[in-house]
Every structure is written in structure tokens, then in C-alpha cells.
């Protein structure tokens, strides 16, 4: 695949992610922040997000696994996950978190568990997508090309 082709693929892929709601405008902000002085910014932030989220998801699973569920704790975790996913632009994860918090308020264990699964699912999906995207980007750069962010104008 030549650089041009890779770039086109990249553009299409990114657009589809936005279209399908996996990512939102906030992600664009991140992409715009990336520049020569910080060429790996998006990758760094996204990696940080993965790390943090996985930790949170584990904590959540543990917390919901208790005999007596501490909903306050659960809510705090979900709130944080909501914050970081929204900062990254992982829209579907964020939305799943919002629903999750509602059930936390109701102190509904079962519903919370379901929400947790939902969040996990969305998370793994977006993780997958982002990893693919990043791989594409790295290939482009390795081939000497640049990421055509400007073509993402929506």
C-alpha cells in the first residue's frame, strides 16, 4: 500500500468512527493538539486512557462483586471513567457510563452489573478501533507520510 492509499484509508476509517459514534469532537481536539513538538501526543493520551480505564473497570468489577455493594464507591469510579472517556472523546463509553450512574443512584446491583458489562463492551470496542487507527498512523509515518488531519473537516 502506498502512502496515499494509507492516508485515504486512514481518513475513511476515522470518519466512520465519528459517524458510528465511537468518537466525538473531543477526539478531534486531541488530534489538533498534536503537532511537531508533540508528535505522539494522541498515542500517549490514548495509552494513558487505556491504562486508566482498565484499572477502573477492574475496580468496578471488584466493587460490584462484593456482598454488600458500596454504591458510593462504584459511583465514584464510574464518574471518573465518564470523565476520562469524555476527555478522550470515547463517546459510547461515556454514554454507557451515564446510564451506569443512574443505576448506581438507584442502588440496583443487578442493573449495575449489566451496565458494567455494557461499559466494558464499549470500552473494548473503542480500544480496538483506536488501536487500529494508531497502527495506521504509524504505518503512514513510517512510510514517510503525514497524517492528513485537515481532511477530517466535518
Amino acid at each position: 500500500m502506498d502512502v496515499g492509499q494509507m492516508q485515504r484509508t486512514w481518513v475513511e476509517y476515522t470518519k466512520s468512527l465519528f459517524r458510528e459514534g465511537f468518537l466525538d469532537a473531543q477526539f478531534t481536539q486531541l488530534q489538533l493538539l498534536q503537532d511537531e513538538s508533540n508528535p505522539d501526543f494522541v498515542v500517549e493520551v490514548v495509552s494513558l486512557f487505556f491504562e486508566d480505564s482498565e484499572r477502573l473497570l477492574n475496580d468496578l468489577a471488584r466493587a460490584l462483586d462484593q456482598q454488600i455493594v458500596d454504591f458510593k464507591r462504584v459511583d465514584a469510579h464510574v464518574h471518573q471513567l465518564k470523565g476520562s472517556s469524555s476527555s478522550i472523546g470515547a463517546q459510547r463509553v461515556k454514554n454507557a457510563c451515564i446510564a451506569f450512574r443512574n443505576f448506581c443512584e438507584e442502588q440496583n446491583s443487578e442493573a449495575c452489573l449489566k451496565c458494567l458489562h455494557q461499559v466494558q463492551q464499549e470500552y473494548y470496542l473503542v480500544k480496538n478501533k483506536l488501536e487500529t487507527l494508531i497502527r495506521l498512523e504509524q504505518q503512514i509515518v513510517a512510510a514517510g507520510g503525514s497524517i492528513p488531519i485537515e481532511e477530517l473537516s466535518f
Binding site: 471518573q80 470523565g83 469524555s86 476527555s87
Partner: protein, 680 residues
């Protein structure tokens, strides 16, 4: 003339001096704006940092509120604005906000993924200058410099308004200023407070001619002085001019005080809201104690005599009171306080008074919570409330007991009490956590009772600032620091609790008082009273059985609990105390302090009730003593003195005092509030 100059200089100053950003050239502004970002979410933190850098700001990030506070404290003029997340694990963002407002007076922007109206409102009431909803966009960050400018403009405006006075302000305010109308009525300028003021003076006096006003950093000590002054004047009658005179801080201007007072008032108001609740709680709690209180009065009389006799009034009275309250026969007149310094005595009292007040407020079952929000320094309101109800003391005790182990709790109460004064000071000092002052004492594992914690704290404090009273104490005692975390500090102090004489009840009281004082001091740093207490503690070799009595409080509540509460305060003194006056700074100590006390209250089921009663009385007495001994403590005592008006006690004390203590400056005119006031 001055005004004209002021204006002129103002414009000049604003252009050149306004942006304290050390190396920022005015015309480059807002580039180089020094921003401190606090968020526990690493993803957000990274993104924010990048965004801010893109805006050409100078960014420092930290993921913990504690870290942020210590950074701010170490480098008081190192930042222009702070951005903080609301939900953080180690400290509530609002508490941090209060601390910063009180201690450093920096503009603070809150942010959160939470966009609920109540949360945003909280930001407003706590003094945040803006609230951002996550995810934060870079556009929102581009404009944050406006908050820095606005703040400076407001400061300048104040300056300008009293331009003529400004010049005068610049001069060291040792004595009545020429500009100030015979403010020197007070007579007793708190010279001791000048120590740290020198630094501020230096800053302030930079450009007398150009009216350059470097930002005044309300350190814990300064805040303590402020609180002391306010308490002395009475929160209602405290006007900036008078406060300024009382504080006698060279270089401090009326405007500085005015804006700080405003924040402080807000903080108090906020506290009173909570305290109301608490008071209710406390009252109910105290009720059962009534019976115990009854005898107290009589005890008081006894105590006074005894005290007078031994010169250890404070300890004794306390003990006696406590004993009385507790129904112990222990009114052992043995005045354990062997060495009680006059000073200590007095100082002791002051804190006690405060304590009483604080108790009231604190006693409510949720002292802790309260503290959280409250800058470590005790809410002035609370203290004020205490005035009304002698019970406050009881409350405190109760609380102390309740929490049992939480030495901090008791302390917090004390702290709160003393806080009223020290609040200001402590607030400034509270570095770590607002709650700081309290926490320290609370943390004391040593003193299971709040008392213990307090004592320890105090001891530590006492060492430092015996002479100076509060300020020192706070400084040395990690009051600031510890409230949140380190009970260790307190433990370090050798609390002579054990020495309390047979009067177990008394001791407890005494300790409690002390603890409170110390606690407060420690945590909040403000309470000058702490100092006294610590001194008292130190001096008093009497083995108070306070441990027993007072400790009972604590026993139940291990310091830990308090600490956690205190943590809230972050800067014990971090001036949370002021939340009202200082928007941001408030978080400090007060909150910390507040917490412990509250928690104590919660535990009300514990012995507390008993303690409270006697304690109140004790405070009264102690307060009186205090005033005599320590001028500084007066502030604190004032608060208390108002509440506890035991004429007989007072006279007895005074008698004693006079003998031992030199011209008691009893600035507080204890009108002899009858102990019976103890609202039960």
C-alpha cells in the same frame, strides 16, 4: 492627592506589577500565565496540560490536592491561577478551593464531568471564579487569564479607593497610623504577630510610591492573626480598619483585610449553615448532660478557688468543671497543674472558649462533614454560635467522646473554637490540608481522646510559640500539615495528661481543652490558644486524668477517623477556616478542624455528654485566664468569654491571674456569662 497618585500608580502598577508572573512581560500577557492544574485523572491531566501549553501558559500539573497545596505554599507567588477537579480521592476539590482562597487568594477554576446545578452552585458559594464542564475544550482555557486580571483589578480598585490611606498603610503599623483614626485604641498591638509579617511587609512596601500591591499571601499565621482580631472585635463589629489595626501587620492594607474579611464572612456563612444543623444535633446530645452540667457551676466556683489557690486555674477549673459536669466527685481540688504558666492558663482559656463555641456547632452529629467543607479553621460562625451556647463546650466534649479515639475530633472542636481567631491565621498556615490543624491533633493516636490529640498538638505548638502564642504554635506544629495526616506530630508531644491529678474528670477536660487548643493550633494553625494550651500542657505536670475523662471521648474515636475528616480540611489552617472570607483559602484548616470536632459530635453516644458540660464551664474560666495571659489569645478568648460568663469564676481567675500574670490585658471583658448558659 493620594487618590490621584493612587490612580496614576494604579494604572502603572496594573500594567507593570499586576501580573506577578515573575518573568512575564506585561505585553506578552497572557502568555506565560502560570497555571497549576490538579486532577486525579491522568488522562484529563495530560490533555489539560497540553491544551494549556498550546495556549502558551506555563503549566504545572499534579494529581493530588495535597501536592498542589504544598506546591502553592512553598511558592506563594509562583502561580497565577489554579484549575482543579471537583472529585478527587484525597481531598474534595471544594475544600482545596477554600484553602487556596484563604491562604493564597488565587483565582481557582473548578471543573468536573458533573454539570449538575448543585455542584456548580457549590463552586460559586465556595468562591470559585469559574466552573468548567468536562470535557474541557481548548477554547474554554484560552480565556482563563481574564480571571487573573479581574482579580487584580478588584484589588487595585480597593487600593485606589483608599489611596490616601494606602500610603499610610504602607508604613509599618506599629502604632496608630496617621491615616487611621486613632485606631490604636486597642493599645495592645499584637507585635508578636509581626514576625512573619515582615516578609509581607517587605513585599508590600516595595513600591510605596507607586502603590504597587503585591498580592498579600494570607499565610496561616497571618490568617490566625486575622481571625484573632476578628474574634476580638466580634464578627459583627469587625471592620477592616479595626482588624487591620489589631493585626498590626506592617505592610498590610485595609483593602487586603477587607477582601479577606469578605471571604471569611462567606466562609462563616457557609459554616453556619452546617453548624445550625450541628448545633441541633449537639444540643440534643448535650441534653442528657444537663444534669451533669448542673454541678458544674458549683464546681466552677470551687474550681476557681482552687485554681486561684494553685494558680493553675485553667487546668483545675477545667477539671473541676468536668468533674462537676461529669458528676464526678473528682472535683479534686488538687490542682494538678503545677506549673501552669500564667500564660498557659490564659491561653488555655481562650481556646476553651472557643471550644465551647465550636462545640456547639461541632457537636452536631456531623462535625466531620462540616469540617470537610470548612477550612480547617473553625468556622467563625460556629464559634460564634458557641458563644451562645455554653454547651458548645459540651458539644465538643461530646464529640470528642463520640469519636473517641479521634483525638482530632476534640481538637477539632477546640480548634474550631480557637479557630475563630486563629482561623484567619491558621488558614493561612494551613498548608496541606485545610483541615490541617485539626488533623494533626486528631491524628494523634496517642491520645485516644481528642484531648490527647489536642494536647499533643498543643504541646508541640506550645513549644514553638509559647511566647507568641498562636502564631508560633501553628508554625512549628505541623499543624498545618498534619491535620490531615499526621497524627504523629501530636504524638510527639508529651502530653502531660497523665499528670492530671486525681481529678479525672478535670483532667479530661483540661486535656480536652488543651487538645482542642492544640488541635486547633496544630491543625489550623490559628489558634493562638493552642499555643497556650500546649504551654499549659507542658507546664502542667499534673497528671491529669484527663486522659480518662477527656480521653473517653477520644477513645471511641481514634484519631484516624478524625484525620480522615481533617484531611478534608486539607490545610488545616489552610485557611479553610475562612471560607467565608476567603473564597479559596478557606479550605484549609478550618475544614480540618471542623471535622474532627464534628465527628466527635457524632459519636455523641460516647461519654461526651458529660464532658461537654464541664468543659464549657471550664472554658469560661479558662478563657478568662487566657485573656490575661496572652494578649493574642484574647481574640480567641473573646469569643469564648462572651459565652461563658462566669462571673465568679472570672473573678477568681482574675484574682489568680493578677497575682501571677501581669497586667492581664483582658481585652476581653468577660461580662461574666453565667455558666448556666450552657444550653442543654
Amino acid at each position: 492627592m493620594n487618590l490621584t497618585n493612587g490612580k496614576g500608580s494604579m494604572s502603572t502598577a496594573s500594567s507593570s506589577a499586576a501580573w506577578r508572573a515573575g518573568d512575564v512581560v506585561p505585553d506578552q500577557f497572557p502568555a506565560g500565565l502560570r497555571v497549576l492544574v490538579v486532577d486525579d485523572d491522568p488522562t484529563c491531566l495530560m490533555i489539560l496540560e497540553k491544551m494549556l501549553r498550546t495556549c502558551l501558559y506555563e503549566v504545572t500539573k499534579c494529581n493530588r490536592a495535597e501536592t498542589a497545596l504544598s506546591l502553592l505554599r512553598e511558592n506563594k507567588n509562583g502561580y497565577d491561577i489554579v484549575i482543579s477537579d471537583v472529585h478527587m480521592p484525597d481531598m474534595d476539590g471544594f475544600k482545596l478551593l477554600e484553602h487556596i482562597g484563604l491562604e493564597m487568594d488565587l483565582p481557582v477554576i473548578m471543573m468536573s464531568a458533573d454539570d449538575g446545578k448543585s455542584v456548580v452552585m457549590k463552586g460559586v458559594t465556595h468562591g470559585a471564579c469559574d466552573y468548567l464542564i468536562k470535557p474541557v475544550r481548548i477554547e474554554a482555557l484560552k480565556n482563563i487569564w481574564q480571571h487573573v486580571v479581574r482579580k487584580k483589578r478588584n484589588e487595585w480598585k480597593d487600593l485606589e479607593q483608599s489611596g490616601s490611606v494606602e500610603e499610610g498603610d504602607r508604613q509599618p503599623k506599629q502604632s496608630e497610623e496617621a491615616d487611621y483614626s486613632s485606631s490604636a485604641n486597642e493599645g495592645n498591638w499584637r507585635n508578636s504577630k509581626k514576625r512573619k509579617d515582615e516578609e509581607e511587609d517587605a513585599e508590600e512596601r516595595d513600591d510605596t510610591s507607586t502603590l504597587k500591591k503585591p498580592r498579600v499571601v494570607w499565610s496561616v499565621e497571618l490568617h490566625q492573626q486575622f481571625v484573632a482580631a476578628v474574634n476580638q472585635l466580634g464578627i459583627d463589629k469587625a471592620v477592616p480598619k479595626k482588624i487591620l489595626e489589631l493585626m498590626n501587620v506592617p505592610g498590610l492594607t485595609r483593602e487586603n483585610v477587607a477582601s479577606h474579611l469578605q471571604k471569611y464572612r462567606l466562609y462563616l456563612r457557609r459554616l453556619s449553615g452546617v453548624s445550625q444543623h450541628q448545633n441541633n444535633l449537639t444540643n440534643s446530645f448535650i441534653n442528657p448532660q444537663e444534669a451533669s452540667y448542673g454541678p458544674l457551676s458549683s464546681l466552677n466556683g470551687l474550681d476557681l478557688q482552687t485554681l486561684a489557690a494553685t494558680g493553675q486555674l485553667p487546668a483545675q477549673s477545667l477539671a473541676t468543671l468536668q468533674a462537676a459536669g461529669l458528676g464526678r466527685s473528682a472535683v479534686k481540688s488538687r490542682m494538678p497543674m503545677p506549673i501552669v504558666d500564667q500564660r498557659n492558663l490564659f491561653s488555655f482559656e481562650n481556646p476553651k472558649l472557643r471550644f465551647g463555641e465550636g462545640q456547639q456547632q461541632i457537636s452536631s452529629s456531623k462535625p466531620m462533614n462540616f469540617l470537610h467543607g470548612i477550612p480547617t479553621t473553625m468556622e467563625p460562625k460556629q464559634l460564634a454560635n458557641l458563644h451562645h451556647s455554653a454547651q458548645s463546650l459540651g458539644g465538643m466534649n461530646m464529640q470528642v467522646n463520640a469519636h473517641g479515639g479521634q483525638g482530632g475530633q476534640g481538637d477539632s472542636l477546640l480548634m474550631q473554637m480557637s479557630q475563630s481567631q486563629s482561623r484567619g491565621q491558621i488558614l493561612n498556615e494551613t498548608t496541606g490540608s485545610h483541615v490541617p490543624t485539626l488533623p494533626s491533633s486528631i491524628g494523634q493516636p496517642v491520645l485516644p481522646n481528642a484531648v490527647v490529640g489536642g494536647v499533643l498538638a498543643r504541646n508541640g505548638l506550645a513549644e514553638n510559640g509559647r511566647g507568641t502564642g498562636y502564631i508560633q504554635v501553628s508554625q512549628s506544629s505541623s499543624m498545618l500539615n498534619f491535620p490531615l495526616n499526621s497524627p504523629a506530630e501530636l504524638s510527639g508531644n508529651s502530653f502531660p495528661l497523665g499528670s492530671a491529678p486525681g481529678i479525672s474528670s478535670l483532667t479530661s477536660k483540661g486535656t480536652f481543652q488543651e487538645e482542642v487548643n492544640s488541635e486547633i493550633k496544630g491543625s489550623v494553625g490559628f489558634m493562638p490558644s493552642y499555643d497556650i494550651f500546649s504551654d499549659l500542657n507542658n507546664h502542667k505536670s499534673h497528671d491529669w486524668e484527663l486522659h480518662n475523662v477527656g480521653m473517653t471521648f477520644n477513645a471511641s474515636h481514634q484519631a484516624n477517623s478524625l484525620q480522615s475528616n481533617l484531611d478534608v480540611g486539607s490545610s488545616v489552617l489552610s485557611h479553610q477556616g475562612f471560607s467565608s472570607s476567603q473564597r479559596t483559602g478557606q479550605n484549609r484548616n478550618i475544614s480540618a478542624v471542623g471535622k474532627p470536632i464534628f465527628t466527635a459530635g457524632d459519636a455523641t453516644d460516647h461519654v461526651n455528654a458529660n464532658n461537654v458540660g464541664p468543659l464549657n464551664t471550664f472554658f469560661d474560666n479558662s478563657v478568662r485566664v487566657k485573656s490575661e495571659i496572652v494578649p493574642d489569645a484574647n481574640c480567641d478568648t473573646n469569643i469564648f468569654s462572651e459565652q461563658f460568663g462566669q462571673e465568679d469564676l472570672m473573678s477568681a481567675l482574675l484574682k489568680q491571674q493578677q497575682g501571677g500574670v501581669a497586667p492581664a490585658e483582658n481585652e476581653f471583658d468577660f461580662d461574666g456569662y453565667p455558666l448556666d448558659n450552657i444550653p442543654v
